[in-house]
C-alpha cells in the first residue's frame, strides 16, 4: 500500500527502459508499449479503488517524512487523472501500432510515449512544488521530441513556437517557486497551504499566485496565452495530437486546480474572479477561432482552447458543485477530444487529407467511422444523453447557484458555436457528396482495420456510458469536489495528525 503512489511513475519508466533495450525490434517495442500501458491503466484503477472512500494515499519517498522529503499524494482528483492518463496511454499505443510509420517508431516513438506518461503521472501524484516543476520538464522534453519527430517543415515550425513559449512558462514557474520558498521556507504543498494561510503577507502571495496562473495558463492554453497551441498541435501525426490534447494541456489545468484549491485560497475575490474572466474569454476566443478553420484536425486543435475555458470555469466559480463539474468535464473532454483526433487520423489514413473542401461522402463509404465521429461530436457539443451534456449541465447549475449569470450565458452561447463547428465537420467530411473521387488509400485488411478502430469504439462506448451512469459518477465527483474544498484533510494526511 505505501509503495502504491509511486507505481504510476516507476511502471512507465520500466516500460521505456525495456523498449530501449529492444531498440532494433519494432514489433517488441509495440508489444511492450501496449502491455505496459495496460498495466499503468490497471494500477491507476487500483489506486482509484483505494482512494474512492476519501482516504488520501501518501508516500514519503526514501522515508524522509514530510515536509523534509518529497511526498507523493494521491487524492480523488489525482486518481481520476491517473485513470484517464492510463486510458489515453492504452488507446494511443494501440492506435499508433497500426497508424505510425516505421521511421518514427525506429526513432523511439514508444519509449518517448512512456516517458511522457511517466512525466504526466508524476505531475499528478507529486505533493511537492519543485518536484512538480521537475515532472513538468520531464514531460515537456518528451513532448518536444514527439512533436518534432519526423522533421517535416510544419512540425519544426510548430515545435519552435511550442518550445519557446513553454520554456518561458517554465522560467516563470521556477521564479514563482523561488519567491514562494523565500516567503514560506518550504515547498511541500501541504505545508505551503498551512504557512501561506497563517499571517498576513498581503500582496506578495497574490503576486506569486498570478505568476503561477501565468505559468500554468500558458501550459493549459488559457486566454490570452494559448497562441502556441493552434500552431503546434495540428502538425504532428494524429496519434501525437491526440496524446497532447488529452494530456499536456490537462496537466496545466490539473496544476491550476491543485494550487488554487490548496495554496492560494485566501483571496478568491480577486484570484478566482480573474480565473473566471480568463475562462470566459478562453471559451469565446477558442470557439471563434475554430469556426474560421477549414481543416478537420485544425478545427479540433483550436477547439481545445475553448474546452479549456469550460474546465477552468469551474475553478473560477470555486464552489464544491463547480469543482465537481470541472472534474466531470475534464474526464469527458479527455475521452471525447482524444476520440475525435483519432477519428480524424483514420479519415486522413483513408483519404490522405484533412481539408474539408476535398473530403466528402465518407458516411456512404464508411458508415461505422461516421457513427463513431458523430457520437463524440455531439457529446462535445453537449447533446443529451451523452457525457458532455451532464458535464456542461453540472457547470451551468453550479454557475446559476451562485448567480454568476455572465459566465453561464457565455458557456451556453459557446456551446451553440461548438455545435456549429462539429456539424461543419460532419457536413463537409461525411455528409456532402465527395467533390472529386479521392481514391481509398487504406491498405489494411478488415480484421486489422477493426483492431485499429477498437480504441475509438471503446472511447465512444465510454462517453455513452458516462451519460447513462451519470448518477454514480456524480456521487464520486461531488466527493472529490468536497475533498478539494476542504484542504485540511489533505494537509492532515500529508503532515500527519491534526497540527
Amino acid at each position: 500500500m505505501t509503495l502504491l503512489p509511486s507505481l504510476p511513475i516507476t511502471i512507465p519508466l520500466a516500460g521505456a527502459v525495456l523498449c530501449m533495450l529492444f531498440r532494433k525490434s519494432l514489433r517488441m517495442q509495440k508489444l511492450i508499449a501496449v502491455v505496459f500501458s495496460f498495466v499503468i491503466l490497471f494500477t491507476a484503477i487500483g489506486l482509484m479503488a483505494n482512494t474512492a472512500d476519501g482516504t488520501i494515499a501518501v508516500m514519503h519517498v526514501g522515508s524522509w517524512s514530510a515536509p523534509f522529503g518529497i511526498t507523493l499524494t494521491v487524492d480523488m482528483l489525482s486518481s481520476v487523472m491517473l485513470v484517464l492518463a492510463g486510458l489515453l496511454g492504452v488507446s494511443v499505443s494501440i492506435y499508433s501500432c497500426f497508424d505510425l510509420d516505421d521511421e518514427r517508431v525506429r526513432f523511439g516513438f514508444f519509449p518517448l510515449c512512456l516517458i511522457l506518461l511517466m512525466g504526466v503521472n508524476g505531475a499528478f501524484v507529486t505533493g511537492d512544488l519543485f518536484n512538480l516543476y521537475v515532472w513538468f520538464e520531464v514531460l515537456l522534453t518528451a513532448s518536444f521530441i514527439l512533436l518534432a519527430l519526423g522533421g517535416e517543415r510544419p512540425q519544426l515550425e510548430g515545435s519552435i513556437k511550442y518550445v519557446a513559449l513553454n520554456l518561458l512558462s517554465s522560467a516563470l514557474f521556477l521564479a514563482g517557486v523561488g519567491i514562494l520558498y523565500g516567503m514560506a521556507g518550504t515547498l511541500n504543498m501541504a505545508q505551503l497551504a498551512q504557512v501561506v494561510q497563517q499571517g498576513d503577507r498581503g500582496g506578495l502571495v497574490t503576486m506569486v499566485a498570478v505568476m503561477f496562473l501565468m505559468a500554468f495558463g500558458i501550459k493549459a492554453g488559457m486566454f490570452p496565452l494559448y497562441f502556441w497551441l493552434p500552431a503546434s498541435y495540428a502538425t504532428p501525426p494524429a496519434a501525437v495530437s491526440a496524446l497532447f490534447s488529452g494530456l499536456l494541456t490537462k496537466v496545466g489545468v490539473y496544476s491550476l486546480i491543485r494550487v488554487f484549491t490548496l495554496i492560494f485560497i485566501a483571496d478568491p475575490e480577486f484570484l478566482h474572479n480573474l480565473i473566471l474572466i480568463g475562462a470566459g474569454l478562453t471559451m469565446v476566443s477558442g470557439v471563434l477561432a475554430a469556426a474560421a478553420q477549414y481543416e478537420m484536425r485544425k478545427i479540433l486543435a483550436v477547439h481545445i482552447v475553448s474546452q479549456i475555458g469550460y474546465i477552468v470555469m469551474g475553478l473560477g466559480l470555486f464552489t464544491q458543485a463547480a469543482l465537481a463539474g470541472t472534474i466531470v468535464y475534464l474526464a469527458h473532454n479527455i475521452i471525447v477530444k482524444t476520440n475525435l483526433f483519432l477519428v480524424s487520423g483514420a479519415v486522413h489514413r483513408i483519404k490522405g487529407t484533412y481539408d474539408l473542401h476535398k473530403l466528402g461522402g465518407l458516411y456512404k463509404e464508411r458508415p461505422g467511422l461516421a457513427i463513431l465521429f458523430i457520437i463524440s461530436a455531439m457529446s462535445l457539443a453537449g447533446v443529451p444523453p451523452l457525457s458532455g451534456f451532464f458535464a456542461k449541465l453540472s457547470l451551468i447549475i453550479a454557475g446559476l447557484e451562485i448567480e454568476a449569470w455572465g459566465i453561464v450565458a457565455v458557456a451556453l452561447g459557446v456551446s451553440l458555436l461548438t455545435l456549429y463547428s462539429m456539424t461543419k465537420i460532419w457536413a463537409y467530411v461525411f455528409w456532402k457528396p465527395a467533390p472529386e473521387n479521392l481514391p481509398d488509400l487504406n491498405p489494411m485488411p478488415a480484421g486489422k482495420w477493426l483492431l485499429f478502430l477498437s480504441p475509438m469504439v471503446a472511447f465512444t462506448v465510454i462517453t455513452v456510458a458516462m451519460g447513462v451512469y451519470a448518477g454514480p459518477i456524480f456521487d464520486y465527483v461531488s466527493a472529490a469536489g468536497e475533498q478539494l474544498m476542504n484542504p485540511q484533510g489533505y494537509i492532515n494526511a500529508v503532515l500527519g495528525g491534526g497540527n
Binding site: 515537456l140 518536444f144 521530441i145 521556477l174 523561488g178 523565500g182
Partner: protein, 115 residues
C-alpha cells in the same frame, strides 16, 4: 547585496525577454538561457543570503554557533541548471534542424502553420 542581485536579476530578465522578442532564432535561444539564469539567481536571492557557512555540525556540537546558509535553494538551482542545460541542448538541435529544413533563421518567416 540583495539590491545588487535584484538589479542583476532584473537586467537578466529584461535582456532575456528582449532577445526572445527578436526575430533571430539564435537570439531567441540566448534569451531563453538568460531567463533561466535570472530565475536561478532569483531562487538564490529569495532563499535568503546568509554567510553562515555550510550547515554541517562539527564533532560533538549540538547547535550551530551562527545560522548556517540554507542548502536547499542551492540544491534547487543545481537541479534547475541541469534541466536547463539539457533543454538548451535540445533547443539548439531543433533550431539547427529547422534552419536546415526551412533555410532561414528569421522567426517571422516561420508562418506556414499560421492560418
Amino acid at each position: 547585496m540583495e539590491a545588487v542581485l535584484a538589479l542583476v536579476i532584473g537586467t537578466l530578465y529584461a535582456a532575456g525577454l528582449y532577445l526572445m522578442m527578436r526575430r533571430n532564432l539564435i537570439q531567441l535561444i540566448i534569451g531563453l538561457s538568460l531567463l533561466s539564469h535570472g530565475a536561478n539567481l532569483l531562487i538564490f536571492t529569495a532563499g535568503g543570503l546568509r554567510g553562515g557557512g555550510a550547515p554541517i555540525l562539527a564533532e560533538g556540537e549540538k547547535v550551530f554557533a551562527t545560522t548556517p546558509a540554507d542548502p536547499l535553494p542551492q540544491a534547487l538551482i543545481l537541479t534547475a541548471i541541469v534541466i536547463s542545460f539539457a533543454v538548451t541542448a535540445f533547443a539548439l538541435v531543433l533550431f539547427l534542424r529547422t534552419y536546415q529544413t526551412v533555410g532561414t533563421d528569421d522567426v517571422d518567416k516561420l508562418k506556414e502553420t499560421d492560418t
